[in-house]
Each structure stands twice: as structure tokens, then as C-alpha cells.
Symmetry: D4
Subunit: 162 residues, 8 copies
């Protein structure tokens, strides 16, 4: 596996089943990643310190998953210069609408790339990071093309017999 | 005016016309306050430092107004032990629903007291702080009773002749 | 346990599993509390009378949990001068959005501190009350710091091995 | 004009331009009405007392208009046995959705008849009261039939020439 | 049981478990009722004819339950002069918000009294009808007072021991 | 102009500025149309009668525009066998969400083709009717291809110089 | 069975249980149909090519079911001149509101006929296509009248005995 | 100005006042960009062709702004391997909620980075692209640090004197 290029952060261990979707994609592509459970609200200092080191450690992107008032991506964005990708997680009666609006409605000057609520969003967060990496890594670019091709193949091969 | 007991924070100068509603109430009650424009996202270090000093400086409460993905109240809450009151501000096409959900849907362990969207919320934020202060300050308690009485009087004196 | 300082009200016995989250926090901190099932709509007189006695009985805060058109916190707020904390409860097909808007969108002059929908909100309601008490009670302040530290520890000690 | 049969209550003088729609309909039908500005939150005792006298005074219905967390209709309903009609008023950035859910999502045992947000709702509140009165008043029944007929006529006579 | 005074209509047999809440209340109060499954869209003629006969048959109120684009109450309202009460039923992925808005947002001139979504709304529909009947029936008025008193008693007798 | 093939119905004259968008498209394509102001609620009999004649009169489609609880398209659909197209109109504080859900959330068995809220929806309603007509009218098919081509041309010819 | 006249497209095999509702209706009416799993995003070329052939192959309508950001119907609409019917599918935590708005809120010039979310929408999509076909096929017109009559009969024959 | 690295696409010329916010940021940073008005629905072939050339032409990112059912970003994403950033534009009565959900709720496999609704989102789209570029361009990295520093300075220099 190549060196660690992507950080996956989440506010709580309970977010892991969602965020593993991102990790699995990265693993399949042979991109090293690091998972951190850190909360914008409950471990603010550790979150800040970790965010501040992302650039120097050579990370290409950080993926932040959080539910309810999902402040993690924005706080990390305030403390790093690398691209930040936010995944809203549905963990309240409001169906993830709270996490979605908290993640996507960033004020000007704080660019967080928001993905869909839940597992599709986590998967896409990894794929988006891979697109960034692929701009400068032909191996990944080739694997992305294969992935796209397999996605296409899977749909075209659908059997509808009951 | 008594010593400064309440901090009023807001993420941007454009929030001032809303948050002045809180300041005006405190002024009317003779409670000293301090206004700070500090952003959870654009001045994270100053926001954190300011929040961390609130307790030692003797503040009884901090009122945080913010729009869109309103992270200010939560971030301040993570860095202080004094009561934090959040005022969602309507500053996007989504009518303040983004700020409201970001402010009120705090995760367990991060108690932010959310008020209504906009000016009524800013006014109530000050009145809520006054209720806390009044528990230990008979002068304020008396003024709150007068305020309530005037509110009541104003409604009872309504003239409906056109 | 210290003397009773917090009242926990709820509109129906079915709200108890939610509101117990508040009670459990207070119990853990050694703060006395009293639980009352009283409805703004079905026992209006008893609700009013109870609210009117809160101040004289020395309560520092009252926590009100209610679902659907959640009028309890506002009605209690109209009949007391102590701080009122509202917890919206999800008990209709509308996912708690009805209770949330009814609780947080108070008119100016009626300051209710709204928390998140459901259990996280109930837990935070107690923690918010504790922050108010801690301003004048060093023992509680110390316990709050410990609580915060344990919260932090729990996140930092997360094991991600599957 | 016949004796006063309908009470029109509203939480604030600013609601009058909306609630006058109800008054105008009643006036057109020759039904006596009484307008009261009383707030569930700011004049709770007067609201309660007024509600408690509605039955004895011979009112056939009470129409309650209120905005934001619109508790008025529910509180009046708790203190009277006569039919209560609620009109949600759009007076916050949330477009009246807060007032609508607060008015219509009443818990079981507290029957408030909710109308549409704003002026159409106020007008229909009066028409609904008239339908109730018409069950026992042939004069009003006849006028309602005429009103319906004029409504129909107005639509059928629409001219579309530009 | 007294003569039939209330009609309960619903758009589909699948609405029966909700609308039975209304029937049960009426039965408890000894008020005769008639249940009809008729659809504004699928049996328009029968619906219209039934609505047109309600007045002559001496009904005091008609309760209409319907889901999704809930047109039943409005269509019945267009074809009768007696009071129409609408109960939105949650029967789609949109949590009843479709049925709620279709029921409550009636245009001016078409007064439908909307209740809460689902069972609480069905129960309240019956209680609202009883309030109308009670204006002219002392026996029902007395039973309503007893019902209110039992509601109150049930809350006051709540036992919280676990 | 060819014979009248499309009916445009609307619940109120105030809907005309929206629904004219549909009429203008049809006029441009040389398709005859008839505009009727008829309300599902205020002229139910005329609405029903008109709907019942649509088939026999040779209409190919009927376009129904309505706001708030927009029952018109559904009621027309219940009384005709020709294709019914619904246009939700934004005419309440709820931004057209009420009209949209009322129009699109039809129960099974009542197929209404819903368009976007407001003018774009009215324009598309006409274009959708034209697509149906074009299946059997080569002249219209050709004009639709030209329309599409002009739409395309207009975008490609955009000048961005300020 | 008659020749194939309707295409049913869906973005994923997991949409089949919903879209089969459309297929079953068409089968019952003896209308030939073709099911294609093709994604606007994952098989864009095949989707485009398929859409471009619909006209020449003699299809009378194409029904497109898709969830989340449901682009399928719009993309197909851009590449064909035949009528396009969209069925929003509930496949995310947001209850289908994402699919509904993506399907119905088409820009002017791109007429997609939106149906209700989920199975009722799929069923109505087929019925809407049948209404279009029936304009030129007396056999189908007759079957539609029978279908309507059976629908009506089923409701009128409802037994409410428990 | 450096070579063209970012493409800015929008569905209509009317989106330009919003999307210029992105262009202005890129201009300030000396990053070359190209603006294209191309619609997923009205110029599908040109949109597809343009998207397919983005990679070969050396673009580092493409920013897509669109309103209502905002399919542009997703369609572009399906036809390119470079990172795609979506900006929802508020251009319907639904306050941009339609464009937001259409942009952010992408299915798995189609990674679009969604920004906030409107101008803040357009500005952040450019800043996000700059973060990606800065990973490999020290000059841009330095300018981003300066930008962040100026943002911070502007807030810290706020004067609140009236």
C-alpha cells in the first residue's frame, strides 16, 4: 500500500459503520489512510492539533464524517489548508437534514466539499479524494477508469429475470 | 452600569443589527456586556482563546449569534464551562433553517441553549441570561418582574380602533 | 444528595424514557431534582400553580420535555422567573420537527432555552442546568470539568480494531 | 347585528391585519364578535380568565390567531369547552411553518381546528364558525348559501380578455 | 345510542385503524355515527352525493380522513354546508407532510378544520365535533367535562416508580 | 390555428399570469386551446361537468394550475379519461410546497402528471402536451425539434462579455 | 400482447420492486413494455443512446424511476422527443424528498411528468401512459374505463365489519 | 495569469451573477479559468463533449452551478475523471432546497463536491479548487495563507462604533 495520503475523521465511534465505506474504497485503490475518532466539541484541542498537522504530514485530503450539528468538517477546514470533504451522518430523528445543512451551508471563506447523507456520501468522499490524487498519479487514474468501467459493466449486466 | 457579566459574540459584523437586540436588553437592565466579532471558522484561535477566558473573567453567560452552518455557539461551548446561548441568524436562501438546525441539534455533552431565529431570539437570549443572573441578584429579579409587568400592560392597553 | 435544585417536567408519562436522561445526569452530579408529569393542555391549572411555586421553592432551573405542539416550556416560562429549558420530543410522524419548532420559536419576551430533539437534548438540558449551578457552586464546577475530561478520554481511547 | 357569538383572539396587535379578515366576514354575516389581544405567554392570567368565561358568556366559537410557537389556541382550548379555531400567522423567517405545526399538531384530548396560514386561514376560520352557527340558525344558513353562490358566480363570471 | 349525528369518511379501508379512534370516542359519548369509505378521486360521484345529503340527513359534522394528496375533506366541504373536519393520514414516505399540507392549506371560502396527523388527529376530530354538539346538548357538555376531568386525573395519578 | 386540442384550467383568475406561459407556448405551436377558470372547491359542479366533456370534445390533454391545497388536477382526473397535467402555483407563505405536494402526491389510480412550481411548470405543461400530440402529428414533431434546436442555439450563443 | 409501446427505465436493479408496479399495470392492459436498467451517471452513453432510439422504435412513452439526485428522467428527456414520465424513489434517509424535488423541479424546456414517490407513483406512471395511448386506441380506452369501474367497485364494496 | 486550470460551467446566463463570485476569486489568485454556459438538459451533447475534454485539456477542476433540478454537476461528473464541484443556485420558489438536494444527494460512484446555496457556495467552490491546486503549487499555497490571514484580519479589525 502506498504512503498514507488521506485522513478519515469522525466525531464518534458510532459513525464507523458509515465511514468504513470511505476506508474500504481507499483500501481497494491501494491508497494509505488513517482513521481518527476526534470530536470538534468533545476533543477540540486534539481535533485542532490533528488538523494543523495534516498539511505537514503530506495528506492530500481529509474526510470528516459527523451527525446532528456537524461542526467537524468546518472546524478542521479552519485549521488546515488541504481539501476538506464532509460527510453528513443521519443520527437523529430529523433524518440527517440537520447534519446535511450543517455540513454544506458553510460561510464564504470556509470551503468544505459536502457529500450525500450516509454511506453513499462516505463512498463518494473517498472517490472524490481519489479524483484529486489521480490528477497527479497515473496509476490511480487508471484504477479510477477501471472502477468506472466496472460500475458500468455491473449495470449493463443486470439480469431482471425473477 | 454593573460590571461586565455577559459576552455577546457574533461571526460577522453583518450580524450586528440582530445581536444589538440582545445588547439593548442588557443595557436597559444595567448589565455590563462585551461585544466580540469572532468567527469559529475564520478566527478559530482568537475564538478559542476568548472562550477559554470567559470563566476566569467572571462572565455569567455568553450569547453567540451566527448564520448558515452556525458553528460558533458549539465551538465556544467546547472551550468554556459557563452557560452558552445560541442565536440562529437568517442569512441564506434557506430562511434560517440551516442556522437553526446547526445551533439547536447539538450532540450530547455540548449543551447550547438555542433561541428563535433572528431578532426575537437575540432579545430572548438576553432575557434568558438575565433570568440566570436574577437567581442571585435581587435587583435584576425585580427589574425582570417589572419588564414582565410592562409587557403585560402593553398588551392589555392595546387599542384596536382604526 | 444536595437539596432539590432542578425540576423536570414532562407532558406525559410516555416522555419518561427520554427525560430520564436528564434525571440520570443530575443524579450522577449529586444534584437533587423533582420529576413532575404535568400537561400545559390537560392539567393547565396544576401546571400553572407548579410553575408559580418554582421560584419560591428555590429551584435553579426547570426542564420541560414535550412532543408535538410542545407548549409546556412556554407556558411554564410565562408563570415563573427562573430559567426554563425546553426539550422537544419526537412523538409524531413529523420526526420531532413539530416539537422542535414549537419549543425553539418562542416570541420575544418568553425566553425558553431549546435543546436538541430527544435523548441528546434531555442530557444536554441537565448539563446546561449544571453549568448555571456551577457558576456558584465550586463542587459542581469541578465535577463538570471531570465530566468533560471523561468525555474527552472516552473519545481518545476509542479502539477501532474490528 | 345579532348578539356577540364569536370571540377573536390574537397574541399581538401586529396580528390584526390578518385577523380582520375573520372579523370582516362575521360583520358581513351580521354575527356579533369581540376582538381581544391577549397572549398565552405575556398575559397568561388574562388569557386563562377570558377563556374560562367564553362558555358562560354564550360564545359559540373562539378564533385564535398567533405566530411563531403559536400556543394561544391550545391554551385557550385547555380552559374552555367551546370549539376553538386556530389561525397560524406567518411572522418569522420560517414562513409560518413554525406557527402551522404549533397550531395543528395538538396532542390527543386538545381539539383545535387549524386553518391555513395567514389571511385565507382567518377568513375560513370565520366561515367555519358560521357553518357551526348555521346548524341552528336558518338565517345564517341562508346567507352561507348566498355566499357560496356569489363565490361561484364570481368565478364563472371571470373575464380573461387582456 | 342517540341518533346519528356525525359522519366519518375515509378514502380507503386502510385508513380505518386511524379513523376508528374517532369512532371510539363518539361511541364512548353515545353519539351515533356512520362510517363511509368513499374516495374523492376513485368514487367521486358517490362522494359528492353523500356529501350533498349530509345536511338534510341531520348530520352535525363530517370527519374526513385521507392520506397523500388528501382531497377528500375539501371536496366534501365543497358539497355540503355542515362543518367539515379533516384528519391527515401518514401513508407515504413523506411522513404525512403531504397529507397535512393538503388538508390544512385550504383556499379562502372552503373552511376545513384540520387536525394533527394520524391517531391523535382522529381522536381530536371526534372531540371537536363533540364540542360543537355540546353547545346545544347539555348531556354531552357534561360528559365532555367528565372526559376532561378524567384526562386530568390520569396525568395527576401518574406513578413514576420504575 | 388547428382545432382546440388542449384545455387550460385554473382555480382562480389570479393564476392567469402563471398559466399564460402554457397558453403562449401552445399559441406559438399553432395548437388551439381553451382557458377555463373553474375551481374544484368553489365551482365543483361546473368543474366536474367540464371535465366530463373533455374526452368527447376531442381534447388531447388538460392542464390544471392551482395553488395551496391544489385539488383541481386530481378532481379533473377523477372525471375524465384524457391525460391530466398539474401545475403547482406558489400562492401562500409556504413557497409552493403545499401546492407541489398536493399536486404530485396523488394516490394510486389517479395519474396526474406534475410539473415544477410556477412559470417553468406551466411552460413545461404545454411542452409535455405537445410531445403527446407530436406522437401523432408530424408537423408538431417538427416544430418541437425546431424549438429544441433554438433552445440549444440560445445557450450556445450566450455572450458573457459584460 | 400488443407491440412494445412503453419503456421502463431505472437507475439501479434495486429500484425494480418499485418499478414493477408500472410493469404489472401495463401487463394487465396487454401493452408491451421493455425494462432497462440504465443510469444517467454510471452508464451515461448507453442511457443517451437508448433515449435517442426511443422515438424511432415507436415507443409512446418512457417511464424513468430513480432515487436520490434523480437525474435519469431529465437526461432521457434531453435526448428524446417522446413523453417522459418520472417516478421519484425513496432510497435515502431524506424520505424521497431529494428524489421528488430532483424529478419534479425541471427547468423550462425540459418537460418531465412527475408522479408520487414510490409504488403509487410507479403505478400511476403506467396509468398515465395508458391514458395517452387510449387517446388513439379504443381497446385500451375501454379497459381503462373498466379499471376505473373496478377501482370504484372495490371501494363501494368495502366491508367494515371487524 | 497562469494557464487555464479551472472550468466554470453554468446552466444558464442568468446564473452568471452567482458564478462570477467563483471567477473573481480565481482571478485574484492568478489562476486561469474558462466560463461555459452549457445545460445538461438543453445542450446535452455539447455538455458531454466539453466534459469529456476537461481531462485532456489539463483542467484541475470543474465548477458547475445550476438551479432547480440541478443535474449539471452530476452529468459532467459522469463524463470526466477530474474533480467536480457543484454550486446549487436558488432560482425557484423553493428557496434553493431543490437545487441543494439535487446537487448534494449524488448516488454512490458519482462524487460531486457540493457547496452552499448561492454566492457563498460559488466563492467556496473556487477556494476549494485552489486548495487542490495548492497541494502542488507553492505559490498558490502561499496566497491561500495570505487570503486566510486577511480574512482573519478583517474580522479582528471590525469596528463596532455606531
Amino acid at each position: 500500500m502506498s504512503k498514507i495520503q488521506v485522513a478519515i475523521m469522525m466525531g464518534s465511534q458510532s459513525d464507523l459503520p458509515i465511514m468504513e465505506e470511505a476506508a474500504n474504497i481507499l483500501k481497494d485503490f491501494g491508497i494509505g489512510y488513517e482513521i481518527k475518532v476526534l470530536s470538534a466539541h468533545r476533543t477540540p484541542k486534539e481535533t485542532t492539533e490533528y488538523a494543523e498537522q495534516l498539511h505537514a504530514k503530506g495528506f492530500q485530503a481529509v474526510i470528516c464524517g459527523a451527525g446532528v450539528s456537524a461542526a467537524l468538517a468546518g472546524v478542521v477546514c479552519a485549521h488546515t489548508d488541504i481539501p476538506v470533504i464532509g460527510v453528513p451522518i443521519d443520527s437523529s430523528p430529523l433524518n440527517g437534514m440537520d447534519a446535511l445543512l450543517s455540513t454544506v451551508q458553510m460561510p464564504p471563506g470556509v470551503p468544505v466539499a459536502a457529500m450525500a447523507v450516509g454511506k453513499p456520501g462516505a463512498k463518494n468522499a473517498a472517490l472524490f479524494a481519489l479524483r484529486m490524487i489521480a490528477l497527479h498519479d497515473k496509476g490511480i487514474a487508471k484504477k479510477l477508469a477501471q472502477f468506472k468501467s466496472e460500475q458500468r459493466r455491473k449495470i449493463l449486466d443486470t439480469k431482471l429475470t425473477k
